[in-house]
């Protein structure tokens, strides 16, 4: 396997809950509570999970847009969380982000040329001043926009085109890692496909590694080499895309996958659906032991007291990382690819 570019170890983000006139801290929201993974060069790691499970906070911490409560993040052997402001600025060339909402991620008062060219203003030694305009036009061409539109403003573009501008800005500095925080969930389906295909093309051409955060299981399956499933700030399962989708071992992953709509109307309703009881517990007061035990049909006494680690589990044939004491592969979804989109 290719070398590791990003190595996250036990990343934690707790937000204080402050109450009363004196703003005393009365508790902590455990948004991300100990996430570890490796990202290899040129691969795509998909992170899925429902709303509020900490995916986006994780993404922002991988960019150090949010300071972690604890944990370490090694980028090419350098600890990102230990860098000074100026060293961090240099590091940022190699790790960039694409945001979810193409309507708030572009400054409405700047032209496309200013937006895509800003990385070169901040890091002036990347491209000499005379060559910048041409480089911006090359980037626009690369993401499938008309290079002549360099003087237009964001409001003159559609959502899909705006997302392409955001991607052009993200890849302007030739990063090694691109964090994609739900890059297609604000777009409609036909445009989603275009943007996902563009991202795959760019990965092939530029050798980018993606951390692809989404709540859409089918899109993640389509683009990812490996997939991590998050529940309440922790990874429940992490493995090769095929492993996780065809032989999920964590009950939460199984429930999640069983909810993917069946695209074939004849088969619809014939598949077994696992319907979970109750709601996601509050991250301010997560359950003891396994975080999923309050909704799990397999839960036993052990699950309430002992927290399962994210370790290799499975039936011995093909194992992958899973955080369940009673991990057991169970096929819940047909081997279709990008058949439908849902979450």
């Amino acid at each position: 396997m290719a070398e590791v570019v990003l190595e996250a170890r036990d990343i934690v983000k707790h937000y204080p809950i402050k109450t009363g006139v004196l703003r005393r801290t009365t508790g902590w929201v455990k948004a991300v509570d100990g996430v570890s993974f490796d990202l290899h060069k040129g691969e795509t790691l998909g992170i899925v999970g429902e709303s509020g499970c900490g995916k986006s906070t994780l993404g922002r911490m991988l960019m150090r847009l949010e300071e972690p409560t604890s944990g370490s993040l090694q980028f090419d052997g350098v600890d990102m969380y230990a860098q000074s402001t100026s060293d961090m600025r240099r590091l940022r060339r190699d790790i960039q982000i694409v945001f979810q909402d193409p309507y708030t991620s572009l400054n409405p008062r700047k032209t496309v040329g200013d937006i895509v060219g800003e990385p070169f203003d901040i890091h002036p030694d990347v491209v000499p001043k005379q060559g910048r305009r041409q480089r911006v036009q090359e980037l626009l061409d690369l993401v499938g926009l008309n290079p002549e539109h360099i003087n237009r403003y964001p409001h003159q573009f559609s959502g899909g085109q705006r997302q392409r501008i955001g991607i052009a800005r993200g890849i302007a500095l030739n990063p090694k890692v691109l964090i994609c925080d739900e890059p297609v969930s604000a777009l409609d389906v036909s445009v989603q496909a275009q943007v996902v295909n563009l991202m795959e093309k760019l990965q092939d051409e530029l050798g980018l590694a993606y951390v692809f955060i989404a709540h859409d299981l089918s899109v993640v399956r389509h683009i990812s080499d490996r997939v991590g499933v998050m529940y309440l700030g922790k990874l429940a399962e992490l493995g090769e895309e095929d492993e996780v989708y065809t032989r999920p071992t964590h009950p939460y992953t199984q429930a999640l996958l069983s909810a993917v709509p069946v695209p074939d109307p004849v088969l619809r309703g014939k598949r077994e659906q696992i319907v979970l009881e109750g709601d996601v517990p509050s991250p301010a007061n997560p359950p003891t032991g396994c975080r999923f035990h309050t909704r799990c049909w397999k839960a036993q006494d052990r699950c309430t007291t002992e927290e399962p680690g994210l370790t290799m589990r499975g039936d011995g044939v093909a194992e992958h990382l899973s955080a369940c004491h009673f991990a057991e592969a169970r096929a819940v979804v047909e081997t279709t690819d990008m058949s439908d989109h849902s979450g």
Partner: protein, 323 residues
């Protein structure tokens, strides 16, 4: 939010090809075809302004007042400082269009020359409050924490003191024996800035708090932009519109406050010519010779009205909801 948008797109999926194809064609058309010249929001605001009669009327009035301030001799050849006591309180006539006051000064000439003090005070007080208020408001809103607490509480202290009371105390304590024209104007401007900046600061702070969570600010941070750069090229241009609007309206208010201070005898003092001083001089004669008070009062009202109307037009143009 994404949940709902997904449902909507799901709905479109049911009746698919035609609509989505057309959408794609539309998109390519928009991308390839000509959709007119590139326009920024400021240019949009300007287009809106050009169509507003309110804007043109107020702009014309403001131009006239500014011209009066810059070159009063364009409007009258009479000397405003030449008094003829024998013709004291003369009513309007062919030689003295607006009549003469108690000292026999020509009221028309003095109305023209009085514009300078009002415009100077109004413009500089507005510039001062805008600059001080914007900078402090941006620092408070963007950095938050201790900077925010400090700036906001200091602002509250100044905000709690009524403008007129503060101005009276300030001007009566710091007035020298024989201040010159510009020194007096500077003092009045200083008072207005000292007591007027907190309202602009609060406006800017709230505006910045709205802009700050936008992803383009995060994107700039992710690119490694310095706080100065983020504030200058991302936060300020998007947060400044409400400040422009309120400052334009405030310009009229500051002119009125200057006249009030001069009327109370603590702003500009004779021999400086100012509408406030003229109104003050005319008050005892209100019954016998109302024209002495009437004309400067009309000039003052027109100037204040012009700037407030201008501010209204600017607000309408910058507010996309009114389009």
């Amino acid at each position: 939010m994404t949940e709902t948008s997904r449902h909507v797109t799901d709905g479109e999926d049911v009746a698919p090809t035609d609509d989505s194809q057309r959408a794609m064609v539309d998109e390519t058309l928009r991308a390839e075809g000509d959709i007119g010249e590139a326009r920024s929001l400021t240019q949009d605001a300007w287009r809106q302004l050009r169509r507003s009669p309110l804007f043109w009327v107020s702009a014309a009035m403001i131009t006239v007042f500014v011209l009066m301030a810059v070159a009063p001799s364009l409007f009258t050849s009479l000397d405003p400082a030449k008094g003829d006591l024998s013709r004291s309180r003369e009513t309007p006539n062919a030689a003295a269009w607006f009549g003469r006051d108690l000292q026999g000064y020509d009221i028309f000439a003095r109305c023209i020359y009085g514009a300078r003090a009002s415009i100077l005070v109004g413009v500089f007080a507005t510039l001062g409050t805008s600059v001080v208020g914007s900078v402090t408001g941006m620092l408070a809103g963007y950095f938050g924490g201790l900077a925010d607490t400090l700036i906001s509480r200091i602002g509250d202290i100044f905000f709690a003191i009524p403008l007129l009371l503060g101005a009276i105390v300030f001007l009566s304590s710091f007035r020298g024996d024989d201040p010159g024209y510009f020194q007096v104007v500077f003092q009045v401007v200083l008072v207005l800035v000292v007591f007027g900046w907190p309202s602009i600061m609060r406006l800017m702070r709230s505006s910045v708090l709205q802009i700050k969570p936008n992803d383009y600010v995060s994107a700039a941070r992710a690119l490694g932009a310095s706080p100065v750069r983020i504030l200058r090229s991302h936060v300020f241009p998007n947060a400044v519109a409400p400040v422009i609007v309120v400052s334009t309206i405030n310009l009229g208010v500051y002119i009125a406050v200057e006249a009030t201070l001069s009327f109370l005898g603590i702003g500009l003092i004779p021999p400086t010519i100012s509408w406030g001083v003229m109104v003050s001089d005319g008050l005892p004669l209100l019954r016998a010779s109302p024209h002495v008070l009437l004309f400067p009062a009309v000039f003052l009202s027109l100037a204040v009205l012009a700037f407030i109307m201008f501010g209204d037009a600017v607000r309408d143009a910058f507010d996309p909801k009114s389009r």
